[in-house]
């Protein structure tokens, strides 16, 4: 306790503050919520540490200088008060003690001011320009929206469509208005297809993006609790995501049929994709192994033989939809099959790795219940000497968190895992309750130090083990 209190009066505290800002992507509200929740600032920077950028370095310098000046003034005032025997000198102690409190709050002021008077006006200009740019562009525009699975869907489409068309897509998981604007600036004008990821953050976001990008095709990948601080309910999040379908008059809309939460939003004009069908194509002869997937697709006498490096049967739907869209957009059978075979696993998304003969499936970027259930299904389906499942649970699940984590626990119990390692967090008890309810027969471990476990994973596994690692718990949720 004393140690963590003393830490707040060290200059390293300034780095912790800036790290917290950076980890929340300079979102003032999220930062303040985290700041008021933290009990021990020394342990805040756990998984990562401050990345020195121009913005973070300037803020760090400002806060360090501010703290030093306040310390110096307090000490000078206290010295003078002692010398002159002034009782008011007691306020110098207050001034000294309040330094971390003052500067951890004051640091948001330049951010707020810059956002109001600089960033937002500039962004508005850029977004306005991008609206015109998208409107003028001759390419077919595909919008990908959903609480999860957007980036994977977009990357699959990008690789497959690139076999026969000139295609561009928003980079990584950049999916907000300003990212779309920057993407529009970089376009060459002769692209055949543009793929734009729509991130949902607050009510009206997706509808706004649709007005700007003006997509021709919409893909809705899934619905799960996320950003519930803004949406409040899953229903409202779903309504925002389906505003993409509304924009398209419910035509050329493709919806993931495996996402339970999406089902109540599906309308007759929407086309589904899942493990059995995709936009009218029938899927059969599915083979799934640790080396990838293979299946056949047929429609109106056409036949596609799909072989992919991606693992997990939940990937069949997105792969099949990419193949179906590629066919619709004029790619040949050879181009489609070749394109699909080129799709490599994405970093930290069902990414297989070998450690001392053990197969590790790194799915630590998975942050939704549907994805977790898919991972557990995969764990159960693949052959292994010993099955190990590792997770901290899910963040940002709102009021449904306890229910979702008990459901996760029950699914874990039914996964035939020999060993389950839960990274200790606020949701652990709910997962354990579900595991007990599911009458889990294997060994259960609660790991207090997740980072240490991940770092030394090689010490816990042996040849023949299959390990599924799902989700990671960001520092700002501790």
């Amino acid at each position: 306790m004393l140690k963590s209190l003393v830490y707040m009066y060290r200059l390293r505290f300034a780095e912790t503050i800036i790290y917290m800002l950076q980890a929340t992507e300079y979102d003032v509200k999220a930062y303040l919520r985290w700041l008021w929740r933290v009990k021990d600032f020394e342990k805040v920077s756990y998984r990562r540490s401050l990345i020195k950028t121009r913005r973070s370095s300037m803020l760090l310098l400002a806060i360090k200088l501010g703290m030093l000046v306040q310390f110096a003034v307090a000490i000078a005032w206290a010295s003078l008060a002692i010398k002159n025997k002034e009782p008011a000198g007691i306020f110098a102690v207050d001034l000294f003690l309040s330094t971390p409190l003052v500067w951890s709050h004051l640091v948001v002021l330049p951010l707020v001011l810059a956002r109001w008077f600089w960033v937002q006006p500039l962004n508005r200009v850029d977004v306005g320009r991008s609206k015109k740019s998208f409107q003028k562009h001759r390419a077919i525009k595909i919008a990908v929206a959903g609480s999860y699975g957007k980036t994977t869907m977009k990357e699959i489409l990008l690789v497959v469509l690139a076999e026969g068309t000139k295609v561009a897509a928003t980079p990584a998981n950049k999916n907000v208005a300003i990212s779309h604007a920057q993407f529009a600036k970089q376009l060459e004008g002769d692209e055949d297809i543009l793929i734009v990821e729509f991130g949902e953050g607050a009510p009206g976001d997706v509808a706004g993006f649709a007005q700007t990008v003006k997509p021709d095709i919409g893909i809705i990948t899934g619905l799960a609790p996320a950003h519930l601080d803004k949406y409040k309910t899953l229903q409202r999040a779903g309504e925002d995501i389906f505003s993409l379908a509304q924009y398209l008059d419910d035509k050329n809309v493709y919806v993931n049929g495996e996402s339970e939460a999406l089902k109540s939003f599906i309308k007759p004009g929407h086309q589904l994709y899942d493990g059995r069908q995709a936009a009218g194509w029938a899927i059969k002869a599915v083979k799934s192994s640790i080396n990838g997937l293979s299946f056949e697709m047929t429609k109106d006498g056409k036949n596609l033989k799909i072989k992919s490096q991606l693992i997990g049967e939940h990937q069949i739907g997105p792969l099949a939809l990419a193949a179906a869209l590629a066919d619709k957009l004029g790619l040949t059978k050879e181009q489609i099959e070749k394109g699909i075979s080129k799709v490599e696993s994405f970093e930290h998304r069902m990414q297989p790795r070998q450690v001392d003969g053990a197969c590790i499936i790194d799915d630590t970027y998975n942050g939704n219940i549907d994805g977790m259930l898919a991972g557990l299904k995969l764990l159960k389906s693949l052959p292994a000497k010993r099955r190990i499942y590792v997770t901290p649970g899910l963040v940002d699940q709102g009021a449904e968190s306890a229910k979702i984590h008990r459901r996760l626990g029950e699914a874990i119990a039914g996964s035939d895992a020999d060993l389950v390692v839960l990274m200790k967090h606020s949701v652990t008890d709910d997962i354990v309750a579900g595991i007990k309810q599911g009458k889990f027969k294997g060994e259960l471990k609660i790991e207090e130090d997740p980072l240490n476990f991940y770092t030394n994973l090689d010490q816990f596994v042996a040849t023949g083990d299959l390990v599924v690692l799902q989700n990671d718990w960001p520092d700002n949720y501790n």
Binding site: D356, G357, R386, Q459, A462, D465
Partner: protein
């Protein structure tokens, strides 16, 4: 939480190998298991004992700072108080630190450790310890005794003779006996592991030199015939009554090479080479590619050796196979294999963490079984005096 003391280092030519075994293969996974409080007990080359958390850091030894550490640190005393307690002066106010040890994990190789001496001490303290007891360790670490015991159980060994180092001052008698053996021969110190002091002798003129090398390290020397059409294999085994073999491992050396210290720990398995990175982990065929019948025969022989010598906890049995004749010969036993042969156990499906925790459990089971034995017997003998 129970306390496990890892004892390593020691007055042995394999002192450095022991440090690596202790830090990389025992302390690290045991700490990760989070079931025990792990204490590092280091025995220096002069036989002094030290106990400190700093001793868990490999950098201390690699940088040479261990000498400075030993100059400053208080030596450890042992207290036998119906168990084992480590005692260390705290350097302040004459106070002493005590640490009761629940289980000992010896991580020592070679003399004054692996050979049963340490295990004898631990038996006296009546504390559970990992691995073979002092009887099995003593026999296993004497290549001559081990062959005599296993031969009595019907297990084959290559033809051999042995003699004490003092007999070398009058070499005629041992040299005459050697004439009964067929060249090439192997000359080995009887008590050392890690292949230290071993020479391969192709002809009689090389013999004296090889003998001098061997007696430089040991007072007992064994000379044995080389096995023709040789496939050298080794099998780590764990267990007390119920045995679990790992996988038969075939070290990949050139036909005329043998498994000497450099080949094992420095050359990365390529004799004379320096490209290997993982010492005993990067140059073996696991499992050994043998016909199933021969693999099974070798595995059975190794298990028979383990039982014949009364091994418990863990040991590694080395075998020599005449590939053409299909004969399996016992070579030697390591009661505490370097690095616990964790690389082989991992291939066999046992993780590092599981390996050390299983060994600790086996140690406790062995100790509990021993507690049931009666150690006192009432007589009127004293009253007669």
């Amino acid at each position: 939480m129970r306390t496990v003391a890892i004892i390593f280092g020691g007055r042995s030519t394999e002192h450095d190998v022991s440090i690596i075994t202790a830090i990389a293969s025992v302390i690290k996974p045991l700490e990760l298991a989070k079931q025990y409080k792990v204490e590092a007990v280091y025995i220096a080359k002069d036989g002094s004992w030290y106990w400190d958390d700093k001793l868990k850091d490999i950098q201390l030894y690699q940088s040479g700072e261990i000498d400075e550490f030993m100059r400053r640190a208080a030596k450890v005393h042992l207290l036998f108080d119906n168990g084992l307690t480590l005692v260390k002066s705290s350097q302040f106010a004459g106070r002493k630190m005590y640490k009761k040890i629940d289980i000992v994990f010896p991580a020592m190789h070679g003399t004054h450790g692996e050979d049963g001496e340490l295990m004898g001490l631990l038996e006296m303290a009546n504390v559970p310890y990992v691995g073979c007891d002092f009887r099995a360790s003593t026999v296993a670490m004497d290549k001559v005794l081990a062959k005599q015991v296993t031969q009595a159980s019907g297990i084959k060994s290559p033809s051999y003779i042995w003699f004490r180092s003092d007999q070398l001052s009058k070499p005629n008698e041992p040299l005459n006996r050697i004439k009964d053996l067929k060249y090439p021969l192997f000359v080995k110190p009887a008590h050392l592991g890690s292949s230290i002091g071993i020479s391969r002798v192709e002809k009689e003129s090389e013999l004296m030199n090889a003998l001098e090398v061997a007696v430089h390290y040991d007072d007992k020397v064994i000379i044995e015939e080389a096995v023709p059409n040789l496939i050298e294999v080794t099998l780590p085994i764990m267990g007390n009554d119920e045995l679990r073999p790992a996988l038969l491992e075939h070290p990949l050396t050139k036909p005329k090479d043998f498994f000497d210290f450099d080949t094992k720990y420095i050359g990365g398995g390529k004799k004379g080479g320096s490209k290997g990175k993982k010492g005993a982990q990067g140059y073996s065929e696991i499992p050994a590619k043998l016909p199933k019948e021969l693999y099974d025969k070798a595995e059975k022989t190794a298990l028979d050796v383990y039982r014949a010598l009364g091994c418990s906890g863990i040991a590694r049995v080395d075998l020599l196979i005449d590939n053409k004749a299909g004969e399996v010969y016992f070579n030697e036993v390591n009661p505490l294999p370097g690095g616990l042969y964790a690389h082989n156990w991992r291939k066999a499906g046992v993780s590092n963490v599981d390996l050390v925790t299983k060994l600790v459990t086996l140690a406790e089971q062995k100790w509990q079984a021993k507690q049931k034995l009666t150690t006192s017997f009432s007589t009127s003998y004293l009253k007669q005096f």
